[in-house]
């Protein structure tokens, strides 16, 4: 791929990636350097492009669920949720209350898992090795809980159209309780390692600043937008899954630098923990799947014993169902920002067009604004990490 950069005088063109540990995947950055100062930076993406939007047009709505796991694979549960909500809105399906609360628990757990992965690897990029081990210790616990409930650690496909695939078990609740009870003290551990660490401060403070106006103008969402001083969260602005019933704060920063992005995410860990505690305390009884026979899969145990359920299962799995004609845009607050699904239905069992709006993609486009002319090569690593990109979602 040719690069639209020209070397002038003593300048130098440096290629960073696509195989570079600090780019968290296959991101290629082309840097135009004058000495060590970055004059221009051109992100080159598409190395992980799998054509998920095209694939979705050829598969049924039920099959597409597993593709959403593979977008932002650090928070697959949230992706499932966003997709399920979009299809439910299209069909007008009301999800039972118990399933909604379980969805909130799962979405917040995946936020914790995603942020822990980010803190660990970001600190590793900048040179602090210890936080990685601390963060992954707790992340393992979250993944173990996912495995307990869905049989999968990374790609659970647990939240499905109409509710959740299986009811949560007492063992899961027990594990969740011991996790939420102790998690606050672990957050203090991470903060003790980083928040006032002078090396950490000098590497992140006033680095890759994005002003409030720039952040809005560039369409960023999630922690990147909040760190720039906008107190905005889709969970509060356009509540879904009953988020209006939970008490939590929206943390936000003032400077819009890497340090503020770190502080925002750290505080979000606390708020997520708080939400999970409230959800556990108010877990209602009742069904976990909406009773919409034409598109919601029956319970697996019924399929094994009941002929009606078996027929229903067979019909839905083989694509013999119809989704109402229409279009919908639905988005949620993913750990990285807004994850939106725009689905155009022509009345068949396959979407006519399915667009995935990825926040990582939009947030990454601000990288030149953050870095060009202001920073040196080493700060590029700090800047890229602070945006928190997952190339699976950038390239789709």
């Amino acid at each position: 791929m040719t690069v639209p950069l020209e070397k002038v005088g003593e300048e130098m063109i440096l290629n960073m990636g696509p195989q570079h540990p600090a780019t968290h995947g296959v991101l290629r950055l082309v840097l135009q350097l004058e000495g060590e100062v970055v004059k221009r930076i051109v992100p080159m993406i598409g190395y992980l492009h799998r054509g998920i939007e095209k694939l979705c047009e050829e598969r049924t709505y039920i099959q597409n669920l597993v593709l959403t796991d593979r977008l932002d694979y650090t928070a697959a549960m949230s992706n499932n949720l966003s997709y399920a909500l979009a299809v439910e809105r299209l069909c007008g399906i009301e999800v039972p209350e118990r399933a909604q609360v379980i969805r909130v628990i799962m979405a917040e757990l995946s936020r914790i898992a995603a942020h822990l992965l980010w803190i660990g690897t970001y600190a590793l990029d900048i040179g602090a090795i210890t936080p990685f081990f601390y963060c992954f210790r707790e992340r393992e616990k979250v993944l173990d809980m996912f495995e307990m409930i869905s049989g999968q650690r990374i790609t659970p496909s647990y939240i499905c159209i109409g509710g959740v695939r299986k009811d949560i078990t007492p063992e899961f609740l027990e594990a969740l309780k011991s996790f939420t009870d102790t998690f606050e003290t672990y957050i203090l551990d991470y903060e003790a390692l980083l928040t006032k660490n002078p090396i950490w401060l000098s590497r992140t403070r006033d680095v890759a600043v994005l002003s409030r106006e720039e952040a809005i103008n560039w369409g960023t969402t999630g922690p990147v937008l909040r760190a720039s001083g906008v107190q905005f969260d889709f969970r509060k602005a356009t509540p879904y899954c009953g988020y209006e019933n939970y008490e939590f704060e929206i943390p936000y920063g003032t400077n819009g630098d890497c340090y503020d992005r770190y502080r925002v995410r750290m505080e979000e860990l606390r708020q997520s923990n708080r939400i999970i505690k409230q959800a556990m305390a108010n877990l209602p009884d009742g069904p976990i799947l909406a009773d919409v026979p034409y598109v919601v899969m029956p319970d697996k145990s019924d399929v094994l014993t009941d002929i009606e359920a078996l027929i229903k299962h067979f019909k839905i799995a083989s694509g013999a169902f119809q989704i109402p004609k229409g279009e919908v845009y639905s988005s949620i607050e993913n750990p990285k920002g807004e994850l939106g699904f725009y689905i155009v239905s022509d009345g068949s069992s396959r979407p006519y067009r399915m667009r995935i709006k990825s926040s990582c993609f939009v947030n990454l486009s601000t990288l030149p604004v953050m870095v060009e002319g202001r920073h040196m090569v080493a700060d590029v690593v700090a800047a890229v990490g602070s945006i928190d990109i997952v190339l699976g979602e950038v390239d789709r």
Binding site: E53, G92, N217, G219, G326, S330, D395
Partner: protein, 154 residues
Amino acid sequence: MNKRELFQYVRSASPVTLEGARECPDCVEVRVDAKDLLSFMRFLKTNDVLAFDLISDVTAVDHYTSRKPRFDVVYHIFSLKNSQRIRVKVAVDEGESVVSVTSVWRGAEWLEREVYDMFGIWFDDHPDMRRILMPEDYKYFPLRKDFPLEGIED
């Protein structure tokens, strides 16, 4: 401002004639003519009541042979102030171009590049119109309906 108020306000205050406006279950949807796009988008952003300041998404839908003009370019814009979203659609035929909205929202830059990359719709006055996901020498536009799922071998 709720969705109904927004819908009525957009219809009455719009500086350009709307080809269509309806209240969808998810948001308000407006269709404008391609020549009016930029002035309508400026209105959405700069109007103090609406304040559509955050661009959510730019994409396209290929209607292939079922409709002429062939494509719809679809914009989703969010207002932080009102917590409301609007969908703006512009019809464009194969080979025609649309004016870029990067002068209104800078965040449209990569989103429009992706639309060009996937559908072959050119955006005028765009600061950096190149392919973004596919290789630069790629000849096809993969999200068009006439592009097969398994790809085309060179």
